[in-house]
Each structure stands twice: as C-alpha cells, then as structure tokens.
C-alpha cells in the first residue's frame, strides 16, 4: 500500500515523489506532494478536474518537470530525465494513436525505438558491444502477444480510423504494455467510452494488471471507477493529497469532508464534540467511536445514507417527515426533513411520503473529522452607503459584483446591465472572505471590525489566528507575523477581496 512518506527506506518502492511542487505561471497546481508506490500496485489518483492529478501523472511520465522536489524511480532521481529515457509508458486520455500508422505500426512504435546491447566479435577478433535494433521477428512476435492480451488478434493491418472507441482504447493499452514498462500510467483512459464499455474495460484492466504484474498508476475523476479497480486510492484536491488508503478505508473512514463528499453520497453536518465518544449535531447527542478532540471542538460529521436507520418516531433520536422517495433499483433514496436539516437515506424498504419517522445512526456509522477552514462565510446586509455589514463590522465593498455588467451612478444607485436602477439598501448577501485576505492592525479605526485574538496555531508557513468580536463572530485568518493571544486588533479586508452573492431561499441541506 502506498503512503505519504519520508524518504528513508526503499523496500519495494518503485516510484517515490518527494516534496514535489508544480507551478504554472506562478499558480500552484501541485503542492508538497509526497507519495510512494510499491511494485505491482494498482494506485489511483482520484479528484475533481483541476486538482492536479493529471499534472502529477505527467511529471512521472516526464512531460512536465517539477518546480521543486524529487521523483525517484527505484531509488534513483529521475526528476530531470526526458520522457523517452524513462521506463514508463502512458495510455493517453484520447489515446493519441498515430493516425498515419496502422495498428501494427502503432503497437510496434516503441519497440522500433528500442536498442539492445549485443556483443559481437569483429574481424580482428575483439569482442565489442554495440547497440542494435530489435530484430523484426521479435518485434512481430511481441506485437502479436500484446494484441492477444488486449483481445484484438488479427487487427495488425487495420487503420486506426476504422476502429471503434473501445478498440482504439485497447490498441493504446497494447502500444504501452508491449514495451514492458516498469510503470504503466493511465490518464483517464476510459473517459471517452460509454458506460457499459467502461464497466467492461474496468474489469479487464484490473485482470490485465493481475496478469502482467506491472505497476499501474491510474488517473480518474470517477469515484466508482477508482473504488472498483484500485489497490490504493489517492484522493486529491487543490493540488494536495487529501487521503491515501484502500478503497474500503477511503469509503468507510473518510479523513475530511472533502473526501466524504467526493466518494459516495454523504450527509455532512457541522457538530461539536462535548466529550470523547459523543458528538452533537442536528441538535441531538449521538454516540460515536471518535475521540481525541478538545472539549466542544467544532467538527464535521459525515453519515453515509446507508448508515441512517429508519425507526418509529418514538425510537429515533431525530424525528422528521419523509419528503421524497425515489426508487433506484437496488435501494430507495429517501429524503427526510428533520427541522432545518434534510437527511438522505438509502434503504431497501421505503416509507411513504409525508409519513413521520424516527432516525438513528449506529456509532460506527458516524464519522467525525476536524473542521478545515477554507474560507470565512458570513451573512451580510448592504447598507445605505453601499457598504456591507457582516461579522459584527462594516466594510467597504464592490456591490457591482452582485449583478454582472452593472455599474453605479452618481447618486450611488446600481444600474444593471439592462439599465434597471436598483436600490440595494437592506439587501441580504452571503459574504465570503478568504483566510489570506484579512489583515490585522492595532489601530482600532482602520479596520471594519474589531476583536480579540482567541487562538493562534503555527501552520509551518504562517500562523492561523481566530479573532472573535464582541458579539461572538469569528474571523479565521492567516498571517506571517506573530501576534499574542488576547491582543485587541482591528480587521482590514480590501474592498476587492470581499466576495458577495445574493441570498436566495436556501435549501435545507446543511
């Protein structure tokens, strides 16, 4: 199994990425990537598009060079080695089969580039070593075998354009495995196939992996595909590894809400931990198996829909009304409204819509995880002066962002793109402010809100502060300078960093 690791020993590790970072034009795509893969493993990089999984794969293939960090193959640094010298082969997203070559020539392409050392005796009787091409017969033999593996024997003479998507896919795989690479890289290889074909190929690829014993590194955004095929899954988001583990671990014990949300269906709640083995969410206390949190620490709680048990209203911890029942084949998808919370349930038996039910969750069905702050979220109101009030303060803001293409006239009214005149006073908005967009000052008059630092945590690159205002609004912010706990500060947020969206009637799902 792969693990985030420090580069100490090298037992069975075929490839190792150490502190790998990749930036394009100053934008970080992959950040501090640490991972090793064992020989023969089927490992999958799973994440939404733009999470850096393909970039990581391309760095292993050699198409991109890491901005910093090292890639070790069998313990040797290959970070700067060009792709044609790496013993890895890639199956490309859109196959990239050469359109001017037929099936045989495509599959044989890699073999024809290969040079093997042969020793021979020259006329003077000296033994010499020279690099020779592979003999044609051996190439033909190997191509034939590779085509057999992908079940396309006899297709040698066919032109690429005459093949179906699935066949092209197989040829792309044959073209890669014929070179007997140490690692096979697969970049969303099944993305272009239809669902049925994809499912078939998933099983075939898995069988192929077993038969060949080559290490597979697979990239996909399809969680089901990852769960079906992999020995190990690396869940990625925003260029960083979120969790590494077996499919079972990733599914049953998601490390954070991102993983929980991305893998399978989940109910995610905000909760607190009053003590070990107890968690409060949806206004009730639940027994759980997690501990080690501070008293009353805010946490995220994940409950899988299949772990919610429907009981009679008296027996349930939560009570609610069934709002929707959808038949999904193997199970019903049921939505239950419990006060403000909407809870999704999967069950093989279905209650009736409108029925009152009780809900419980077994302790092992509750997954508690530390809250990760990404962004400060507030509810705000636009004032008469086109500023915004939120988080116990008042800030200057750009109200034109609420309506694309709008501008302000001299009197401060908003003119929309269509020319309508709007008075935004008392408009309710959602406000988002990033961790790094808030600065602190000890001059109480420069900032839009004032508060005391109640917590600071050193996060290797910066300190994370929580500033609490008089009326108990919390700002989470990052700052490189060291302040003291309980310092009274005012908070400055630049006008352009305040992201606002209009409040619409909110759905109940927390």
């Amino acid at each position: 199994m792969a693990k985030a690791t420090s580069p100490v020993e090298n037992n069975g590790k075929i490839i190792e990425l150490v502190d790998v970072c990749k930036q394009f034009d100053g934008v970080t795509i992959v950040e501090n990537f640490n991972l090793y893969v064992r020989k023969g493993e089927f490992i999958t990089f799973l994440g939404p598009s733009g999470c850096g999984k393909t970039t990581t794969l391309r760095m292993i293939a050699g198409f991109e060079l890491p901005t910093s960090g090292k890639i070790l193959l069998n313990g040797k640094d290959i970070s700067a080695l060009p792709p044609h010298l790496r013993p890895v082969n890639t199956v490309f997203q859109k196959y990239a089969l050469f359109p001017h070559l037929n099936v045989f020539e495509n599959v044989a392409f890699g073999l024809k580039q290969k040079r093997v050392e042969t020793t021979y005796t020259d006329k003077k009787g000296n033994t010499k070593v020279k690099m020779e091409k592979l003999p044609k017969a051996i190439i033909a033999e190997k191509v034939k075998k590779a085509l057999e593996i992908v079940d396309l024997s006899g297709f040698e003479k066919r032109s690429i354009a005459t093949l179906s998507g699935g066949q092209q896919q197989r040829i792309a795989i044959a073209r890669a495995i014929v070179n007997e690479p140490e690692i096979l890289l697969l970049d969303e290889p099944l993305g272009a196939l239809d669902l049925k074909m994809r499912k078939e190929m998933q099983l075939e690829l898995k069988a192929m992996h077993k038969r060949l014993g080559i290490t597979f590194i697979y990239v996909t955004h399809d969680q089901e595909e990852a769960l079906t095929m992999s020995d190990t899954i690396v869940v990625m988001s925003d260029g960083a590894i979120q969790q590494i583990g077996t499919p079972e671990m990733i599914y049953n014990e998601p490390k954070n809400t991102f993983v929980a949300d991305f893998i399978g269906e989940s109910n995610i709640f905000s909760g607190v931990m009053p003590k070990d083995n107890q968690v409060r969410f949806c206004g009730k206390a639940f027994e759980c198996l997690d501990g080690g949190f501070e008293k009353d620490e805010p946490v995220d709680v994940v409950v899988r829909p299949e772990d919610v048990i429907i009981t009679s209203p008296e027996q349930g911890i939560l009570k609610g009304k069934v709002t929707s029942v959808i038949f999904k084949g193997i199970h019903y998808q049921i939505l239950v409204q419990c006060g403000r919370y909407e809870i999704e349930i999967q069950s093989t038996s279905a209650p009736k819509v409108g029925e009152s039910v009780g809900l419980t969750v077994q302790p092992d069905g509750i997954h508690v995880m530390k809250k990760v702050f990404r962004v400060n979220k507030f509810s705000g109101v636009i004032t008469k002066r086109n500023t915004v009030e939120f988080g116990d303060g008042e800030f200057e803001c750009d109200v034109t962002q609420l309506y694309p293409g709008s501008h302000l006239d001299e009197e401060g009214y908003l003119i929309t793109a269509k020319g309508e005149k709007l008075d935004l006073t008392d408009t309710e908005v959602n406000v988002e402010v990033g961790l790094h967009d808030i600065t602190m000052s000890d001059d109480p008059d420069v900032g839009g809100a004032q508060g005391n630092i109640i917590s600071l945590i050193y996060k290797s690159e910066y300190y994370r502060y929580i500033v609490r205002t008089e009326n108990e609004e919390d700002y989470v912010l990052a700052c490189e300078d060291l302040w003291n706990e309980n310092d009274r500060v005012s908070l400055i947020v630049p006008k352009e960093k305040i992201k606002m969206t209009l409040k619409v009637a909110e759905g109940g799902k927390q």
């Binding site: 293939a61 792709p83 044609h84 890895v88 859109k94 990239a96 001017h100 580039q113 073209r175």
Partner: protein, 283 residues
C-alpha cells in the same frame, strides 16, 4: 400529404448551383474549346496534325528531343522543380518554427510572410529585377538567368508553401508527440516519425501550389531574364499572340496533362483521410 410535397423545399445542395454554373461556363466549356482547337484545322476538320507537329517538330519523332518545344518544356520543368524544392526547404522550417513558437500572436508572425503578397506582384518582380541589375547578375549568363528565374518564383510563391504547411503543423495534436517521446523516441526521431508524416498533406498542397504555377508564370521569367528564359506558359502565349490557335491549344492540352500527372503523383485525387486537414488543400 400533397400539401407537404408542394412546399418549396430548400436544400443546402442548392447553394452549389452558382459554383456549378461558374464551373461549367468558365472551366468545362473552355476546356472543350481548347480540345476542339487542338484537333481541328483552320477549316474545322478533324486532324492529328498538331499532335504530330508537337512530337516531331516537322521531321521525325527523334527530332522531338532536340526541338525548341522540348527544350522549353524541360527547362520549365527544371525551374519548377528547383523552385518547389527551394520553397519547401525554406517554408517547412519557417512554418514549423512559427507553429511551435510560444508567442501568443503567431498569426502576426505569419503575416510577416504574407504581407509581401499585398504589394502588386509585377511591382515586386520589377523591384527584384532592379536588385539583380544592382548586384550585377541580371542577364549575366544563361545560368544566371535560370537562377534569377528560380529566385523570382520562390519569392513569389513562398507564402503558398508556408500557409498549408503551417495549417497542418498547427493542427497536429501535441499528444502525438508526447506519445512518441513516451514510447522512447528522441525529439528528432519524433519529428521524423510523427510531425513530418502528419504534415504530409500540407507539404503536398504546398507543392502543387508552387510547382504548377511556376511552370506557367512567365511574367517572372520575362522580367528577370530580359526574355531570355522561356517557360511553358510563355510557349503557349507565343502561339496565341502569333495567332497559332491550334498549336497553342495542343500545347495547352499537354500542360493540362502535366498538371493531372503532378496532381496524381502527389495524391491529390485521393479522398482526404483526415477530416482535420480538410480545406488545407484549398490553399
């Protein structure tokens, strides 16, 4: 339903009518007129005379190879061939470099090679002539006349070689090159095995855009050689301006044959396999 049938039905095929008409009036009909003149005499009677005259120069078949017609044709072929080769040798690297440069505004760079086309071509050729006079190679010797003609043809037709090659190279998916490198090919190998074959269609249309016109563009040869180099186009012109319509028509047919031959040799009659490079042959 009868009403549906009566409804005037607009089909996209109807859009082809103007071009079909144009094709008929200005291409097909004149071709037949040429064919008619080539095989009839002044009394409108069918004859093989002009065919025989062309191949025997008034004597035996053996005399063809020493006839002025043969000399004109072989010189013209030589000039066309050299012009095409020189054009290709210049155009391919240029197109390749522009297509692969990291600049955002590649088209501006490409424009630098096309802007000269906006200046009147006779003017340009005259300027080139003055340049040759200035450096002293103008009408210096027969060899120089041929070289100057080739330079003129290259100068005139280079953009027609660059454009189709550029369009095919820029359309080649970068993943093909990555695949080649991934499979162990070095950069030069990847170029030879992938980029070059995949830009073949551009090269071919470039060749036909340069080779065929440089057989007939006698403005270049006339201006640059003091009328001392005679090419195929000039031969036809001479016949027609000398009122020898039948001779001229037959030579025009021979030229047509050459064109078919070149088109066939370069695979121009084959249906384009790759839909992505469709349209490039229009250049």
């Amino acid at each position: 339903m009868t009403t549906a049938k009566l409804k005037p039905h607009f089909s996209r095929k109807l859009l082809a009518i103007p071009y079909a008409l144009f094709l008929a009036i200005f291409v097909v009909v004149p071709l037949f007129i040429v064919l008619y003149y080539a095989f009839t005499d002044d009394n409108n009677v069918f004859t093989w005379d002009y065919l025989i005259l062309f191949f025997t120069d008034g004597g035996s078949l053996a005399q063809f190879f020493s006839s002025p017609i043969f000399q004109t044709i072989s010189l013209s072929l030589f000039i066309s061939l050299m012009s095409t080769i020189v054009c290709l040798l210049i155009a391919y690297p240029v197109a390749y470099i522009i297509a692969n440069c990291k600049l955002k505004n590649k088209s501006t760079l490409l424009l630098m090679f096309i802007v000269p086309m906006w200046v009147n071509f006779v003017l340009r050729i005259n300027a080139l002539k003055e340049f040759f006079v200035w450096i002293g190679t103008y009408n210096k010797s027969d060899a120089w006349n041929i070289i100057n003609t080739i330079i003129g043809m290259v100068y005139d037709f280079l953009p027609f070689m660059i454009l189709p090659i550029y369009t095919t190279i820029i359309k080649i998916d970068k993943s093909y090159l990555e695949a080649a490198k991934d499979l162990g090919a070095t950069a030069p190998k990847a170029f030879l095995k992938v980029t070059l074959p995949l830009s073949k269609s551009g090269i071919i249309s470039g060749i036909s855009m340069v080779f065929l016109p440089s057989m007939t563009n006698y403005v270049v040869s006339n201006y640059l050689t003091y009328r001392n180099v005679k090419i195929f186009g000039k031969l036809i012109d001479d016949y027609f301006s000398g009122d020898l319509w039948h001779d001229g028509s037959f030579v025009a047919l021979v030229l047509l044959l050459f064109m078919f031959l070149v088109t066939w040799l370069t695979g121009g009659f084959e249906a384009d396999e790759q839909s992505e490079t469709r349209g490039t042959s229009l250049w």
